[in-house]
């Protein structure tokens, strides 16, 4: 029977190999072949959410600056610092390559940290103006900013977790095998540094 198979026409000669592939490939999927792309897509989705929240914060700022300017016009320096920091933060372009490039990632992180500190200075300054603090618009903006800061923190934590899973998959068995053979272009992703994680927006007391 083996001799028969060997002398079969060329179309059927590949049949054993084809059958082997049909059996082995689904097993490969079970062996973690899909895990690296899945983890990478998860991390990218988490990253989009982080960018979304940062963008939301950037969108709230012009409104806030206008409201504060109405009551605290002398605080021009602080207001200008916020506007400048916002411009710098929105200027940093983020591409999918930013995730794999430590330099670009650091630049993005620094620009957002700059905006955070400028905002906290502005909110601290606005404490000195009771009229401003009682203004309904300001209260609404302030609660929106606090909510956005919280959402940024949650999105960052989700991203860090997703990147941890992806980087771990690249380094542990069997991911390390797939990474060195079929997924050579998969590189570890950057993650946020711990120092920024513990930074909290200032609590504003009434």
């Amino acid at each position: 029977m083996l001799a028969q198979r060997l002398s079969a026409p060329s179309a059927f000669r590949n049949l054993p190999a084809f059958l082997m592939m049909a059996i082995v490939l689904p097993l490969l999927a079970g062996c973690g072949y899909n895990t690296i792309p899945t983890a990478e897509e998860n991390a990218r989705a988490a990253w989009s959410e982080v960018l979304n929240q940062y963008q939301r914060r950037a969108d709230l700022i012009p409104n806030l600056v206008e409201t504060v300017k109405g009551y605290a016009a002398h605080e021009k320096d602080t207001l200008d610092a916020v506007v400048e920091a916002r411009a710098k933060a929105t200027q940093v372009t983020v591409t999918p390559e930013t995730l794999k490039d430590p330099e670009a990632f650091k630049k993005f992180q620094d620009s957002q940290a700059g905006l955070t500190s400028a905002l906290s200075r502005l909110l601290a300054v606005s404490e000195r103006y009771p009229d401003l603090k009682a203004n309904q618009n300001f209260l609404a903006l302030q609660s929106q900013l606090e909510g956005t800061e919280n959402r940024i923190a949650v999105a960052r934590r989700d991203y860090i977790e997703a990147v941890r899973a992806y980087n771990t998959e690249l380094r542990t068995f069997p991911g390390v095998i797939w990474a060195s053979t079929l997924y050579r272009s998969a590189k570890p992703m950057e993650t946020f540094t711990v120092a920024d994680e513990v930074k909290k927006p200032p609590a504003v007391k009434f």
Partner: protein, 312 residues
């Protein structure tokens, strides 16, 4: 390793020297040669009673035992670390989880009714929870993790909300799920907290504060008649007598039963009687623990950190 030599070791297991040669004793490299003489240093002569390591080679029992000890230590430390890092959340016993015991039974019943009515109307799940402590984290940090752990809100729509009160730390938070962030915005949550809840908490009226807060949240969520009509229309069953949660749970029970039957059949085919024994033990243990109270459970929703907090 040298120090372990002073520990008195128990008598090791009888090596398969005395057993007749059969399939069971044929362990490959541990196969005893015909002469009956032990091949490895750890195999004892049947006459030896006191165990002593050979002078040059480290005896395997000590290495194996220290390996087991090390493994046990690592495993226990892992579980210890895990329990230390993770927060412990109260069980979702109903729509009002009063861990800090600040609400009386009448308030709890009234609130549960209102919250059940909200879910029946709009499928939004609002849960009131009072906590004894925040276990060292901030209420924002605790809030979204609790929401995700309980999976409050419908899966896909993420329309869950939590009203969290921590009287011991004097903090309150309205945690809003992804899907409700457009209606129950941060600003609105802040207004509810500042105007309805905190003044009453300052006067030590916890039931009043929580009730008023819940009323306000419900009025915000059901405020736009057009909008909640649209949301209600998206529900699969529009029968008013049996709420959709009941038919959902019946379906999930049926699916679960089919899965269990399938697993049992597969297992029986592959492993035989032993597997059935194991499964029956598991079923007995699991059946007793799976009783649901009141039929309320999270719908699979997630949270993203929206909402507002306040302190008094």
């Amino acid at each position: 390793m040298r120090g372990l030599g002073s520990i008195e070791r128990p008598k090791p297991l009888t090596p398969p020297l005395s057993q007749p040669k059969s399939d069971i004793s044929d362990f490959g490299q541990f196969k005893v040669p015909n002469s009956g003489k032990p091949e490895f240093g750890w195999e004892r002569e049947p006459t030896e009673s006191v165990a002593r390591p050979a002078a040059n080679s480290p005896s395997l029992p000590s290495r194996r035992r220290s390996g087991v000890c090390l493994a046990l230590v690592v495993v226990l430390t892992f579980f210890l670390a895990l329990s230390a890092a993770a927060l412990t959340f109260p069980t979702l016993s109903g729509r009002v989880v009063d861990e800090a015991n600040i609400l009386d039974a009448g308030t709890r019943t009234a609130l549960t009714e209102k919250l059940a009515g909200l879910e029946a109307k709009t499928t939004d799940q609002l849960v009131v929870v009072t906590l004894k402590s925040l276990q060292g984290t901030s209420i924002e940090d605790f809030g979204y993790q609790l929401g995700r752990y309980w999976r409050v809100g419908q899966k896909g729509k993420n329309n869950g909300a939590l009203l969290i009160v921590v009287p011991g730390e004097r903090r309150v938070r309205i945690e809003v799920g992804y899907g409700l962030e457009a209606t129950l915005t941060d600003a609105v949550s802040r207004l509810i907290i500042e105007n309805a809840i905190i003044p009453r908490f300052r006067a030590n009226d916890f039931p009043g504060g929580v009730t008023r807060g819940v009323d306000d949240i419900i009025s915000v969520l059901t405020g736009d008649a057009e909008e909640w009509k649209q949301r209600a229309a998206k529900r699969p069953d529009t029968v008013s007598q049996s709420p959709s949660t009941q038919s959902d749970s019946i379906w999930s029970v049926i699916v679960l039963m089919l899965i269990v039957v399938g697993v049992v059949v597969l297992c029986a085919m592959l492993l035989g009687a032993l597997c059935l024994q194991i499964l029956s033990i598991l079923a007995l243990a699991g059946g007793r623990g799976s009783s649901s109270s009141g039929g309320f459970s999270g719908g699979g929703g997630s949270f993203g950190g929206g909402g507002a907090s306040g302190r008094w």
